[in-house]
Symmetry: D2
Subunit: 359 residues, 4 copies
Amino acid sequence: MPGNSFGYLFRLTTFGESHGKAIGGVIDGCPAGLSIDIDFIQRELDRRKPLYPGSTERKEPDQVEFLSGILNGKTIGTPIGYIVKNLTAQPADYDELSNLYRPSHADYTFEKKYGIPGHSSVGRASGRETVARVVAGAVAKLLLKISDIEINAFVSQVGPIIAETDLSGADLSTAVRAPYGCLDSNIEKQIASLIRDAEAKGDTLGGTVTCRIKGTPPGLGDPVFDKLQADLARAMLSIGSAKAFEYGLGFQAASWKGSEYNDQMTAKDGKVTFLTNHDGGIQGGISNGEDIIFRVGFKPVPSVKMPQSTVNRQGEPAEITIGGRHDTCHIPRLVVIVESMAALVLADHLLRNSLSRTG
Amino acid sequence: MPGNSFGYLFRLTTFGESHGKAIGGVIDGCPAGLSIDIDFIQRELDRRKPLYPGSTERKEPDQVEFLSGILNGKTIGTPIGYIVKNLTAQPADYDELSNLYRPSHADYTFEKKYGIPGHSSVGRASGRETVARVVAGAVAKLLLKISDIEINAFVSQVGPIIAETDLSGADLSTAVRAPYGCLDSNIEKQIASLIRDAEAKGDTLGGTVTCRIKGTPPGLGDPVFDKLQADLARAMLSIGSAKAFEYGLGFQAASWKGSEYNDQMTAKDGKVTFLTNHDGGIQGGISNGEDIIFRVGFKPVPSVKMPQSTVNRQGEPAEITIGGRHDTCHIPRLVVIVESMAALVLADHLLRNSLSRTG
Amino acid sequence: MPGNSFGYLFRLTTFGESHGKAIGGVIDGCPAGLSIDIDFIQRELDRRKPLYPGSTERKEPDQVEFLSGILNGKTIGTPIGYIVKNLTAQPADYDELSNLYRPSHADYTFEKKYGIPGHSSVGRASGRETVARVVAGAVAKLLLKISDIEINAFVSQVGPIIAETDLSGADLSTAVRAPYGCLDSNIEKQIASLIRDAEAKGDTLGGTVTCRIKGTPPGLGDPVFDKLQADLARAMLSIGSAKAFEYGLGFQAASWKGSEYNDQMTAKDGKVTFLTNHDGGIQGGISNGEDIIFRVGFKPVPSVKMPQSTVNRQGEPAEITIGGRHDTCHIPRLVVIVESMAALVLADHLLRNSLSRTG
Amino acid sequence: MPGNSFGYLFRLTTFGESHGKAIGGVIDGCPAGLSIDIDFIQRELDRRKPLYPGSTERKEPDQVEFLSGILNGKTIGTPIGYIVKNLTAQPADYDELSNLYRPSHADYTFEKKYGIPGHSSVGRASGRETVARVVAGAVAKLLLKISDIEINAFVSQVGPIIAETDLSGADLSTAVRAPYGCLDSNIEKQIASLIRDAEAKGDTLGGTVTCRIKGTPPGLGDPVFDKLQADLARAMLSIGSAKAFEYGLGFQAASWKGSEYNDQMTAKDGKVTFLTNHDGGIQGGISNGEDIIFRVGFKPVPSVKMPQSTVNRQGEPAEITIGGRHDTCHIPRLVVIVESMAALVLADHLLRNSLSRTG
């Protein structure tokens, strides 16, 4: 069943297992004439690399190789195919586990679905699959840049440490350079320390990523099933380990009264402004021109280096202790992935919106 | 831009504005031979009717009329077309407002998108559009019933009142009969009182709906973009006023450690069981056979009967007080809509899953 | 399995069986602001009515009723839902045949597919289904008219009578008013006579329809799978009884040499012209600005009023003589259907083409 | 605009320009557990190689490299990504032509569409793109083989030489081994001679390919827009240089009477048989179990080595003589491409059909 494509007009199809030859993708629908800044794309890829203490020891060069769709630095309207080779796969790490289901991993469900034992198809469930998303997200960002749409995410929580941030007007570019993806250097230190402790115990940590999209013109999104927030929610929940999504006031909105919640409006010299942005920049499924703000919650990586109760493929109880190379905390690496998926959604709806009216 | 279809194999396309002639839909992809219990479908439709104090005074009979796809009480493999007529539309209620944007409504964004002034296309953003979803969701439920998949939702929060519920093994059928859709009669009373107070002030209330899906076989969902939770998230965020979605532990998972969070497994007589269900029944995007549990957060209906600051279509500041017929609290009416959208997702993935393997 | 939608950006979904309550459709993706000339749409519907000697005696009023998507005579960007009621269905005509498969009809194949005996789902295979196509095609024509794209088809063959026509510069509007849809009144008379003879014998006749699309700008169509001719071919072969499609020189091109076939070019005052139009207005899957010309071949209606050898549902040999109301020759009624399907393809690609380039 | 995918359930997405690094594809939707015979796939690729006198001098090794989706010789349910490298691209051949539009090529239309001068995006319109189709078609054939569906095509016409063949019961496997893809060695000789003559003059030749699909169970295809013949027609017309498609009696059916045309039925021992197969194995858009037979017409390759009148990019008249490496007659190379596209359609509908009924 086809399930490896994303987007209607700016459409990404991906392939590749963690332990196969390569991860790759095809971007179909990117307009001709877009300047492709390969260095920028490579830098985006580098942002998901495990460079901080507490990230996996699997270090891939992750050089993207474009195979089609670009000539003399510009898109030519044909599909953009690309691959990123897997150079350091160590399937042997997995062999000893191949008879045991790793708890809260996809081993059990993939086997039930595809009928194939062992760590075969489950290599598709690896975080490594997101390499293909980041490349396409970077191309989408280049398209969005023409319309001055800018997307920035940052780590807003790791374990119990929560960064309270007033996003209105904040400069989010600092998060890009922070090893743990935070806006605040104090929070950054606390998180570094927390991750160090967890790593020492072989444990793992979850967290949240918050994202702000600036510069969206009013009109992006469709009224019913393809509401902008619906597509963003799907995009975010399609990221492995994501458990929750909210935009604007999110779950808090449930306890507010309409009279307090509503984003009232005013105008000066014909320019409309909103007194608040509780709706997070989207009303009726369509952007209103305010910042789009959303938050994504992630569970900890399930690969803990501690004994856990599980079951083997013969249906007998067993104990498992997972070795191999894994992140203690993957949240900082998710920042660019959240941005990339948001960029894919926005690029798609930017193209869609050009079709709203005749003439 | 087409944005009014939902689902890949069990596919719903809807149409109709709140103040037009009818709301309708086409279900394409329902297998032949499914018994259609019209009474059940009508009862589902009745569940979204505004029958409790604090719901809108617009009372529509909401009789579904099937036009195709069913013969002698069974589906015949052709598309199922249906309409529900709008009999009590009062466009006059809206005329006086047609020069003002209602705060936190879709008036402003729709006009920016479609270039059409007045309450025209925005009739598509009305909650009335969900009539078409409930009919299709009811058909999906009939299909799921064959595989013993059962979906139950209930009101888990209105304003500050939160129902704490242990869902494992709970009988959720009582919520269907409770006017405010709660499991607990005490909570029900508190909510009734809260809504009464808000109604007296012309204010509105938000809340949350929690949903449990029982009986899902392992294997539903696809690995990458079409993860089961991604499709559920999209489905829920496509409901008007939804602001947030989480499944399993949801946002809480962000603060847990992997060693505590992981759903460890055991087996007895070859039957696999999970010691916990923090993952909410989905791992790697695919159902694991446990209960699928998720929660959706909704903002209050924006139509408050109190003066609000806004802007008119000429871009001048103005004041608006919204009259007409509106819900003080729409959360109880959302229960069946949440179930319906979940049913559409599950029916789609049930059909998809039959294609996973050869032979 | 969903199979009742057509188009990617200008998207039609249809429903309805010949002997059910109504035929209907939903147009999703029509831009807002398009003026809808209801009289024109009704006139298009009238063109497929059986008004000439030799057409079925089933006479339906075929009044289209729009349910959504249009306000004050203009589209508003939301889906356009519509129905055309079936008022003169006579299911009894079919009862006596319900245990026999009509030769070259869909009875046998539908039963094998859907497992349902009798003339149930096969009502979807009726020519009456095209009512929904004509309504949508008429809306598409209105959209194309803004870009000065004009579509005209005519009957170019019935049985052995073939109309040889030089299409370059011909006025095709006369075919609209001719009872049998021909350009030439002499051919029209021969066809009338041929149909009269066949009717007297209870026999039926096939034929071809030729179509010309004027005013297409260069650039419509996509390079690989969605070539303009590929979508036109699919559109035409999706019409019941169609057996063949060719564009430009068509099958004749197989016997030509490249040096004679190629459409050489020249220019005058910077304006490019083609010396010939053997390619029929499409090169590399994309329109070149010349007239798009294609031809569709149709088999005779299979409902002959003569005894035929067949099989009953018990798998025994039997004889069948089909009564009821059927066309002796349906080719003249196909003219507007060919045009409608072409209009759907062109409207779709017109919208697609606006996405080809940045800026 | 995405236009590089084909199929709904067995879904192929391709990429790659003739003069770029590689041609590639992603097959999404192939069920897990299918044995992949790499040698067979490579042999299929070899069938489209230019090995006969009169074919292009560009000789590519065309080794397929699978990057994902296959493990231990079997599909694992994840997308199958693959590439075939372009090793002998000679862009210099094209440089001198880059200011002139080649007649009946895609140069002019691509430039009008994408706004990019030169032979850039037009590399996507090259016959080399079909490499990706053949790989996917071979995988589809392996899937069809499980259900005993067999697809064979052959050259039925080159220029004026037409092979008259009775297909019922014929052994079509000989065409695979014939250099020019014919069934009859006498025809083969005539074609060889014809091509030699054309080559000497720098001219090119068109032709037709006929295809037979054996073993299709009744029930494949959908009733309205996705009729089996509609999808086959689209598949065939999506092949570069294809101008025409017909199935069963095709255009001839237009001149037949219903009483002679209809495929009457009989039965023996409960087994239904058809007395004729004028419908070509499809009725009402759905296969009836008889052989599916269709024919595709192709124009000559437009690259003739003779002076032609054309226009340059400045809009001035010019003369062009095309050099480089091109086929004098590409029809024999199209045999495997026709089969491949037919295999993609059949595999898609085979999967679709499993969803027709409940239980």
